[in-house]
């Protein structure tokens, strides 16, 4: 009986949280188009999120391309299909692995950062102080951050994909003697609009999901340092989960329009 009550409570909490988050998202869209626009803060957030994630994205992308090529090479060699490597790697990375891995990295880096920052501002009454001074904290803190991640994530993914392909080209060059020019010629031959366009569009949604969850968790943080920790932690968990859900939906929608 106690178990079923706990399960019922958890289910209720889960759906209530989804409802609250939907309300939070609808408020974001309402506030997004109302004046005043916080351009300066938006640019500051774009710079912070883009610049501070740069190193992580470059390193992750490079290792991803490198390892993926190294691991795939022996299998392709067995069938004498090493020449397919550039197209296989580029399609996998651009369509799926690059966006998802970079989004997950950013969910950890940016999502937890937003959750902790806003959570700490909530606990120390900085958000209340902002409101009392006649500034709309939702517009200043939430709208700018969600928008910044939504705009920056596609750029980070494009950078990550490019570095991953460079890593892959390096392995091919060292192991198979394939020149960089030949490698990238094959990459561009195999990539079509229907590969790049949907993959880029879905990264906007990944960014929105990460920003939404991070700000929601931080803005509604419970009191105390435990609350800040929980906000930061659950921002990463929920954002990562949402990235996979958005990806799942994106693949279905892409299939309808582009028949992958």
């Amino acid at each position: 009986m106690a178990k079923s009550i706990t399960l019922l409570d958890r289910t209720r909490t889960f759906f209530s949280e989804i409802g609250d988050m939907s309300f939070f998202a609808s408020r974001f869209f309402r506030e997004l188009f109302s004046r005043p626009f916080e351009w300066k803060e938006l640019l500051r957030q774009c710079y912070n999120m883009g610049n501070r994630s740069l190193f992580l994205v470059v390193v992750t992308g490079f290792i991803l391309g490198l390892v993926f090529t190294l691991q795939s090479r022996p299998t392709l060699s067995q069938f004498g299909a090493e020449s397919w490597m550039p197209s296989m790697v580029s399609l996998s990375i651009v369509r799926e692995i690059g966006p998802v891995i970079i989004a997950l990295i950013c969910a950890g880096r940016i999502g937890s950062g937003i959750g902790a920052e806003l959570g700490s501002m909530r606990v120390t009454e900085q958000i209340d102080a902002m409101e009392v001074s006649g500034t709309n904290p939702f517009k200043y803190l939430v709208v700018t951050r969600i928008l910044a991640v939504t705009l920056m994530l596609p750029l980070l993914v494009i950078l990550g994909d490019t570095v991953a392909l460079l890593g892959s080209a390096m392995v091919e060059n060292l192991k198979g003697g394939v020149s960089y020019t030949l490698y990238f010629n094959q990459v561009f031959d195999s990539l079509k609009f229907s590969d790049v366009f949907p993959a880029t569009i879905k990264t906007f949604f990944f960014g929105f999901a990460i920003g939404l969850v991070g700000t929601y968790k931080g803005y509604n943080c419970a009191k105390g340092t435990v609350g800040v920790g929980e906000a930061s932690n659950s921002a990463v968990v929920y954002a990562s989960m949402l990235v996979f859900i958005v990806d799942f939906i994106a693949v279905f929608v892409t299939d309808i329009f582009f028949e992958i």
Binding site: P36, E117, S120, M121, T124, E125, Q126, D128, A129, M130, E131, V132, S133, G134, T135, N136
Partner: protein, 250 residues
């Protein structure tokens, strides 16, 4: 300075009720703050003092009752009007609530950036920031981060930020809590100076008896969500009611 009670109050609360679930925090609280007055609200921890003051600035919505600031009802007010009215109120938070990612200068510039057109005799952002910091004696700390300041200094900077829009009413939420006796006295003196210099009406939430003694024109005791007793420091500290007297034992 004794308040002129014949005038309209600058701030008035009537029959304010607020509950959080089964916890009835305010059960019909009434008060009026008059121009130039220092009104102290005293009560035990958890008696609803901070909830009451947050209802006044619109951070918490009361369940019922009315709150009027200069004859304008804030409960029925729209967001834009409320934001405008908030520029007439300075609020000193219990934990200072300085923006920790900004310097002292940026903390003070923040409210000015949006509302400098509402400041009487505005002398420019830089001049206003320096004037507010000078009035709390911290001009030298203008480029420091909040984390580089002591608790007392943070409280002073928070006071300077509350003063920067030249508000008509200042609310202090536990202004001396967590400070040593010497720093507490400095903050209390600063509050008195600010009241003289800026001619503000002040609402001070505290359970610090020394603070209440030095600064109050009038005291209201908040017990069980209602105004249990009201009077000057002398009247209440010499009251025949043991529960009232208990608040004034150090």
């Amino acid at each position: 300075m004794n308040p002129d009670k014949n005038k309209n109050p600058v701030l008035e609360l009537k029959d304010i009720k607020k509950s959080f679930g089964d916890n009835h925090v305010l059960n019909g609280f009434n008060m009026a703050l008059y121009e130039g007055e220092n009104l102290v609200i005293m009560g035990k921890s958890g008696s609803g003092k901070s909830v009451m003051v947050k209802c006044i600035v619109g951070l918490i919505q009361p369940d019922s009752g009315s709150i009027t600031i200069r004859d304008r009802d804030i409960i029925t007010m729209g967001q834009t009007e409320l934001d405008f009215l908030r520029t007439e109120i300075g609020f000193l938070f219990q934990g200072s609530a300085l923006y920790d990612s900004m310097t002292v200068r940026e903390n003070l510039e923040f409210p000015l950036r949006r509302h400098k057109d509402k400041v009487e005799n505005f002398k420019g952002t830089e001049e206003s920031v320096k004037e507010a910091l000078k009035s709390v004696g911290l001009l030298d700390s203008i480029d420091l981060m909040p984390s580089e300041l002591s608790g007392g200094m943070q409280r002073r900077v928070a006071l300077a930020r509350a003063l920067i829009l030249k508000p008509k009413i200042i609310m202090y939420d536990e202004p001396t809590t967590g400070l040593d006796p010497i720093t507490s006295n400095e903050i209390i003196q600063l509050m008195r100076n600010v009241q003289k210099e800026y001619n503000t009406s002040s609402l001070i939430i505290t359970h610090d008896v020394d603070c209440a003694r030095v600064i109050s024109n009038r005291i209201i005791l908040l017990v069980d969500g209602i105004n249990y007793a009201e009077g000057t420091f002398e009247e209440l500290s010499n009251s025949s009611d043991p529960q009232t007297r208990a608040f004034f034992k150090n």
